[in-house]
């Protein structure tokens, strides 16, 4: 259970705001005051920046092999040293950001694309539709942690497409559950009643009026989901089930240098450190968002 949400009640309860101003302007101000959340925002922004501008930030071609320079320690030429094929570790980490964010963005998007409407419909219609959808979600959640993704890529094979699907599918139930409980809470509100009286269709009420009010818990979830996807991709690639070489993937980089731990442990140190920092960033940002939107929200 890496990114499971934990109650935040006392963490930074002081940072709550409830002004009538735009929630997002508020959010930004609170993040600016909450140093850890600010750090998270900074890490995430830096990660996205690196992913986009990778070719300008890298010092070497991430695929360029130079056996003569293999497993070097950090130097002025190779800032973070080289791997077992003499490739520049720093440049591979920079391009690895692209890989990680691409996979994570795809997986989170797929998870939301299916999870949000499923949860919304389940919560809004209730009874048997709710039961059917949620039993499907329970079945997906019966595969703990990385098991579902491992099982899926084991049979469908690695690569970008199957990682999107495997990681996206694992993300559907948590999105559905979050949205469902938010919709359940909104459903009883007066504005829904009012919309119904004025003859709006269920579809309009749900997707145009109720759902926009459920976005804040979802946003928190998506931030954690991002961290989860990045960790899952690197885990799978580390096991050799994810992306094929020579893709610059942080997990794959770790796998490739594991046989040479004795010779050059630093070659394994930096890619793992990068994963940790990026995941820390998303988690801190998610925590910060949760403090803003709902300091007392407990989820199991």
């Amino acid at each position: 259970m890496k990114q499971e949400a934990l109650p935040q009640a006392a963490w930074t309860a002081a940072d709550r705001t409830s002004s009538g101003l735009s929630r997002f302007a508020d959010a930004f101000r609170v993040i600016a005051r909450n140093r850890l959340a600010l750090l998270g925002l900074f890490i995430v922004a830096a990660g996205i920046f690196t992913a986009i501008f990778a070719p300008y930030l890298a010092t070497h071609d991430p695929y360029e092999i130079n056996i003569a320079n293999r497993l070097q320690a950090p130097s002025l030429e190779h800032w973070l040293g080289t791997d077992f094929l003499g490739r520049d570790t720093y440049s591979r980490i920079v391009f690895g950001a692209r890989t990680a964010f691409e996979i994570a963005a795809g997986a989170v998007f797929l998870g939301a694309l299916f999870g949000v409407p499923l949860g919304a419909v389940a919560g809004f219609s209730g009874r048997w539709i709710d039961s059917i959808i949620m039993r499907f979600m329970d079945a997906i959640m019966a595969f703990p942690g990385r098991l579902l993704a491992i099982a899926l890529v084991a049979s469908a094979g690695g690569g970008f497409a199957s990682l999107y699907i495997a990681l996206g599918l694992s993300a559907i139930p948590s999105n559905a559950r979050i949205v469902r409980s938010a919709v359940l809470a909104q459903k009883e509100r007066e504005y829904v009643e009012a919309a119904r009286m004025s003859g709006e269709s269920d579809f309009t009420i749900l997707f145009l009026q109720v759902l926009p009010n459920c976005l804040s818990p979802l946003l928190v979830r998506l931030s954690l989901e991002f961290a989860h996807a990045i960790l899952a991709e690197s885990s799978l690639s580390f096991l050799g089930l994810g992306l094929p070489p020579p893709t610059p993937s942080w997990g794959l980089m770790l796998k490739e240098v594991t046989p040479f731990l004795q010779l050059q442990p630093l070659a394994a140190f930096f890619p793992g450190l990068t994963i940790s920092v990026v995941i820390l960033g998303f988690n801190l940002l998610g925590d910060g968002l949760r403090d803003i939107f709902d300091p007392r929200q407990y989820e199991r």
Partner: protein, 321 residues
């Protein structure tokens, strides 16, 4: 009330179990290629060497000539009777192989769980009692970093330090705790630290948050007011109630540990079910993969049920959804 709740939960489990088994059954159908060859472990290149007649016989033998729903029902019937089929690699019953591997997973899970609790409970309590002090920040730093760090990387770094540099502990391998307990502990030490940290990090934070909540409650103020010693107030009152809430987290984590830590077992060459799964994938031994995935999912589903029931029993005020 509790009995009714249990019955309702068990009934809810039935569709979930059916769906899970269906998913595991269909898993091998996602594999590119001819399912007959996949399930028999025959290389597609060798397909030409099998005559059409032989192929039909093989297909019939493993029941793949029947409609898919019949195949599923036959398969499910066998599973219910404890027949998970044969491993392609060793031609032995999968149930036997899993039972052989399970103890190693169990020992490691037990060790990791104890270690995790041993770290998380004191760390969470002290952090809450000494809120906003250096101890609190250190505990929270540990919690945040422990959650963020990929377990396989942590494992490799521990290996570098304690096995390769200092030479204190063996890097990989296993020994039975009954035959050579000392060797077992040496081998189990690093994986247990990794898994224990994975468990302790979120749990520390959870216990701290719960404790902070409890310490603000009226009953705690009353306990202080009537002059109870600090230890009594903190341990007997606040901690006890905090732990009730922590049961869910611990329970689910335990279920995960019982499913075998796939990556950690692989990194440390620990012969548990997690590594059995990964080895099965590497060797394209799909019946093994199917069996282990099904077993882990079932363990998790039932553990979830037990945790929820236990939780409800501990704290009847809780309305479980």
């Amino acid at each position: 009330m509790l009995a009714r709740y249990v019955v309702r939960r068990v009934f809810q489990l039935i569709p979930v179990l059916v769906l899970v088994s269906l998913a595991v059954f269909l898993l091998v159908r996602v594999i590119p290629g001819d399912p007959v060859l996949v399930m028999l472990g025959i290389d597609p290149d060798e397909r030409a060497r099998i005559s059409e007649e032989q192929y039909r016989v093989l297909q019939h033998q493993i029941g793949l000539d029947q409609p898919i729903y019949v195949q599923y029902l036959n398969w499910a019937d066998k599973i219910v009777h404890g027949d998970f089929g044969l491993s392609l690699a060793s031609r032995r019953p999968i149930v036997d192989i899993i039972f052989e591997r399970y103890p190693a997973t169990l020992y490691l899970a037990g060790l990791a769980l104890s270690l995790g609790l041993l770290i998380a409970i004191p760390a969470g309590v002290i952090a809450a009692v000494r809120q906003n002090t250096k101890i609190d920040y250190a505990a929270m730093g540990f919690a945040l970093w422990g959650v963020a760090m990929p377990d396989f990387w942590f494992a490799l770094m521990l290996m570098v330090l304690f096995s390769l540099k200092l030479g204190w502990l063996p890097s990989i391998g296993y020994a039975s705790p009954f035959e050579s307990p000392w060797l077992f502990l040496q081998h189990a030490c690093l994986p247990a630290i990794v898994m224990g940290t994975e468990l302790a990090a979120p749990l520390t934070r959870y216990i701290r948050a719960e404790m902070l909540d409890q310490l603000k409650q009226d009953y705690v103020r009353t306990a202080w007011a009537k002059g109870l010693p600090a230890r009594m107030v903190i341990v007997k009152h606040a901690l006890r109630n905090s732990l009730i809430a922590a049961v869910t987290v611990v329970g689910l984590q335990t279920a995960r540990l019982l499913g075998g830590a796939t990556i950690i077992e692989t990194v440390f060459s620990w012969p548990g079910v997690g590594r059995l799964l990964i080895d099965g994938i590497y060797q394209r031994d799909y019946p093994i993969v199917q069996g282990v995935v099904l077993l882990i999912a079932m363990t998790y589903v039932f553990a979830n049920l037990i945790v929820d029931v236990f939780y409800k029993w501990l704290d009847p005020r809780i309305k479980l959804e």
